[in-house]
Symmetry: C2
Subunit: 325 residues, 2 copies
């Protein structure tokens, strides 16, 4: 049974492309409040996992011991755009814990924010590991290792105490006993969960049922520009939600939202991995849940040609438009 | 009835994302030889239309009158990467017909070939309309207008004689009386055809049933690096096919192939618009049709992380693997 069409992309009068996918919304009591499509097969959570990957940092005492700022905790949960505000903060943080770029296991990556990339090229520089969108998460892992007093080398091995601590938190909050794992784009282990279980874990974070959740959600919501960056969807969604949601995109069409006031967790996976599908879907879901105002402008996105003219639209399809949450 | 899954993308032991879509293969007699999924709904042909958009240039005498080289005809059919070999040739061509960059209706675009983009940025330059991947197609349109002795201004209007000539060719070869149209990424009109009709038009081009086809196919096959660019799939496919196919990708998951020896046309559309899906599908189809060797290395593509390690694979799914052509 294929998943329903959640999002459609028009050109002129025709629908040119479609995005199928699934949605799970869970309550803080662990119950599934809403499901669309398959929510039982395991889905790699990708960067939507970052708030959970930051739990050992906050709950194990490392953040306190090293005096992490709220900005740094936000960066631990970020897929940042490699702008100076991100890169400079991660560099200073690493220095403070006695580490450097060389300790990061993630590879170098051109900044996603184009002007930052152009500036690097214009000054004959190449991107470093600090520019990797996950460098804040890795700085968080290194901080935990330092706090434990163990070697930082090999900290992305699934058997390393830092990654084992992440998995322990995730199992506890999702209720999944033994999640499948694989290597993420940044070389860290990433875990797969059924979408329903992922929504449950997000709801438990939203309802602050684990000690670190309060700070993680507060830092993400207070610093949306550090969790994403200039022009990024996560940043825009959190600004528009005005404290009612912490959200995190993941590669391959994943989006996660934690709603602290409602005590809800929302998880989206687009079958084909398209970010535009996940962004449109999560925006409409947040609007329906009363978290985004109806005039946010974040649900339907124009398709522009190279002259800047609007030639189509990325918008929710019927199954999502008609969903009653 | 959803289209079948044609391509799957794995991460570790799991399939992370899937691409549904449809395939049509037609013979030179207009018959549909193979169909998978829906081949009746209209699909925007996008840049796969370029060989047809070049027909008025070759068939109306403009190419001959202005002494177009084979390289220039290949560029008229190209979605090029904005490398110097592309940009310099288009600039010289425009000058020869008494036009300049300012006459191009396409917008400026950063070169798709990253080193070319970095070089522009490093020398404080911005991309021009010449860097637009469609600049060769637009140079072709301008050449036709010059040859007709009509104003070049407004040449991308669907009512302009240049675009009417494209539509006349397309109707004749596809058998579709009145294709829907919309504005393409480069501001030119683009036409939508049922995939079966598109495959028919491609087969008639492959079998040289229209006078311009011989030169267009010959030029594309002789200059694959101009039709795509360094590292591009169209370029690699044509090099590996050694004269047995002219191929052209289109945005939003379209791929077209013309097989001159077999007299076949092949059209692919990935529902969600993903290029990786279309590239993997067309490569396997060409392999099954005996056009690509089994060891081309172009069918399955590794998914690499930011450290360059292989963490998954983009590969044909069962429906495509099992297809008997």
């Amino acid at each position: 049974m294929p998943n329903p069409v959640l999002v459609e992309v028009s050109r002129g009068a025709l629908v040119e492309s479609i995005h199928r996918g699934s949605v799970a919304i869970a309550g803080a009591d662990g119950s599934l409040r809403f499901a669309l499509g398959d929510v039982d097969n395991p889905v790699f959570t990708r960067s939507s996992l970052k708030p959970f990957q930051a739990l050992p940092l906050v709950e194990g005492g490392a953040a306190e011991a090293f005096g992490l700022s709220d900005e740094e905790v936000a960066l631990a949960c970020a897929s940042h755009s490699g702008e100076p505000m991100h890169v400079d903060r991660v560099a200073a943080w690493l220095k403070r814990i006695g580490c450097s770029e060389a300790d990061l296991a993630c590879g170098p990556q051109w900044p996603r924010y184009e002007p930052a990339s152009r500036t690097l090229a214009a000054t004959q520089q190449k991107p470093s590991r600090l520019h990797n969108n996950c460098s804040g998460k890795h700085a968080g892992f290194l901080t935990v290792a330092r706090h434990l007093g163990i070697p930082v080398e090999g900290y992305v091995a699934v058997t390393h105490p830092v990654q084992k601590a992440v998995l322990t938190s995730l199992k506890r909050l999702s209720g999944v006993g033994d999640p499948a794992w694989a290597v993420d784009g940044c070389a860290a282990p990433n875990f797969a969960l059924p979408l329903a279980a992922f929504a449950r874990a997000l709801a438990r974070m939203a309802a602050k049922q684990t000690p670190g959740a309060e700070r993680i959600l507060r830092c993400m919501i207070a610093h949306p520009e550090l969790v994403g960056g200039t022009g990024r969807t996560c940043t825009a969604l959190m600004l528009a939600a005005q404290g009612k949601a912490a959200v995190k995109i993941g590669a391959e069409g994943v989006y996660a939202a934690m709603l602290p006031q409602a005590g809800l967790g929302v998880a989206v996976k687009i079958d084909d991995g398209a970010a535009r599908g996940a962004e449109t879907a999560i925006a409409l879901l947040l609007e329906k849940l009363g978290v985004l105002p109806a005039d946010s402008g974040l649900v339907c996105q124009p398709v522009l040609n190279t002259r800047g003219a609007e030639v189509g639209e990325c918008r929710p399809a019927e199954a999502l438009r008609d969903a009653v949450l």
